[in-house]
Symmetry: C2
Subunit: 343 residues, 2 copies
Amino acid sequence: TNVTKLNTTSHRRYNPLTGEWLLVSPHRAKRPWQGKTEKKEGKSPVQYDPGCYLCPGNERVGGVANPDYKEVYVFDNDFPALLSDVQVSFEDDLFTAKSEQGICRVVCFSPDHGLTLSQMAIDDIKKVVDIWVEQYMELGARSEIKYVQIFENRGEMMGCSNPHPHGQIWATENVPNEPAKEMVMQQQYFERHGRTLLGDYLNRELQKNERIVIETDHFVVLVPFWAVWPFETMIVSKRTISHMGEMSEEEREDFARALRQITQTYDGLFEVSFPYSSGIHQAPTDGKEHPEWHFHMHFYPPLLRSATVKKFMVGFEMLGTPQRDITPEESAQRLITIYQSFQ
Amino acid sequence: TNVTKLNTTSHRRYNPLTGEWLLVSPHRAKRPWQGKTEKKEGKSPVQYDPGCYLCPGNERVGGVANPDYKEVYVFDNDFPALLSDVQVSFEDDLFTAKSEQGICRVVCFSPDHGLTLSQMAIDDIKKVVDIWVEQYMELGARSEIKYVQIFENRGEMMGCSNPHPHGQIWATENVPNEPAKEMVMQQQYFERHGRTLLGDYLNRELQKNERIVIETDHFVVLVPFWAVWPFETMIVSKRTISHMGEMSEEEREDFARALRQITQTYDGLFEVSFPYSSGIHQAPTDGKEHPEWHFHMHFYPPLLRSATVKKFMVGFEMLGTPQRDITPEESAQRLITIYQSFQ
Ligand SMILES: O=P(O)(O)O[C@H]1O[C@H](CO)[C@@H](O)[C@H](O)[C@H]1O
Ligand SMILES: O=P(O)(O)O[C@H]1O[C@H](CO)[C@@H](O)[C@H](O)[C@H]1O
């Protein structure tokens, strides 16, 4: 069949969510690797680190001390990438700059310095989900905030400077590039079909059953047909919801379960605390209806061959088109094997 | 003035060459860095390494031995990302894949294992430029090749697995994502103004003189107003040429000079063999006229604060919008200071 042929030849795939292509070179996974290897990502062996600025009770750089928090803890980033003051704007054909207001927050997932999401109890992950919902609604309600980007950089390899389990929220005056692209594509699809792009995609994927890694009551974790990173996955809600505020209690808990299962599967893949950047894409908070938006979460992990060899998105990827060495189908199979070994 | 205000507040800038935005957070450079540090990039201390598959006379993985080459040496990549065989294609709303034919080549810049472009004599860099021109013309003349992407991954940090000075060429059946975006934007500008986007941009930059790092007879090296990477630069030709095949002998030599000067400046910045990915963007080889295309070369170096601390393009960057911590103007000033100290 066609899909079998794709396993042996270089080809392009189209990402209907962003409108961009990627290059797949399945045969290339066989080349030997003599390049850079990374330090094996570890997790902290201690529950409390006196030098950690995220642990309960400790002082942060600004001089403020964290409260003795017992569950999730949110605070304003001491070094925010976005400010909310000066207004400046100039614009012509070639030089355009506009001030961007916003709010940056840090979300500590747990007081325990030694945990990762993958090791937290579902009930405790559920508390993180609840906070995400709360923050999305609260920040989104502000008139100057049009988008709330929730994300996590997990592991040193992903530029995370502190192993304490935490994520970030950057809420901005404009819809950032990636969700803006996804919005255009979802709008076009919705206008043509009256259904969400990801809802239809999910149904087709469930039928094909080639890239589904995990299925819970309300969510599916799959390797997208157009995945760029070697073990990239996406969590998609079965029900069409445009943002987290629409989730029922049961869905929130089930989402926590999906989060635990995929992060556990990742940790099992190379037997290492698995690095990734992850983030939630959902409707902008611009006060408009967004029936086209289908809630989902992306996981972009850098590892390719082992706990220490990552995929480099460099030369051709930066100047041409993102490229991957193993097929999404093969990655899905490997993740499924790990996931099943836990069950 | 407006530009002064931009130095102190978070803002977005628009890249007219790709149509995409970036986020600038000048104040954020002050935050302390406790995260991952990289190994200082070194260059090889030897001129010949018996274990290097790129050195003259040595055997490569496929079993072929390199000739005893004395200048530049080009060969077909033993692990090409692109093949030129199986035809397969399927396409619908949600699942689209097409085989992509192509040719991948490796270009050894010098037989000397211990050199980098920055240390080669201008005459020897000129020979690399001549080979790039030759390859662009030869590969571009093939009917199945629509784009010739010339690039270099320099340094371990950029996924380069061998310090022997070399670059790559991936020639493809379709125009890759990045030049495709640049083509749309350049076409629109050319239709509106009858001049190239980068020609007009270059004139404005030369007038402003805020981001010009190096000027030779025929080329300008500048930090683009919309640069994403901390010390990103672009080499732009003063004359409007759409590809390297149009360069005169004198321009080729002058381009070699510009290449030497910017790579030397980079090496001086943190006193380390400076890592980067670089690549040339020029007209597609689709047999059509491309008066809108203006020849240029991008340099994307990862380092931010020192020889060992790089910028991580992770969470918000991957899921939202690329973000930088120092302004392009400040980066340009720092590069200018280094460049001038050599003169
Ligand atoms: O071809 P190389 O040098 O083995 O590989 C390097 O460059 C390629 C092209 O940018 C990338 O796809 C690889 O991830 C990188 O490691
Ligand atoms: O905010 P942090 O954790 O200090 O910084 C990390 O995440 C940010 C958001 O993705 C990035 O801009 C930084 O490059 C990265 O090091």
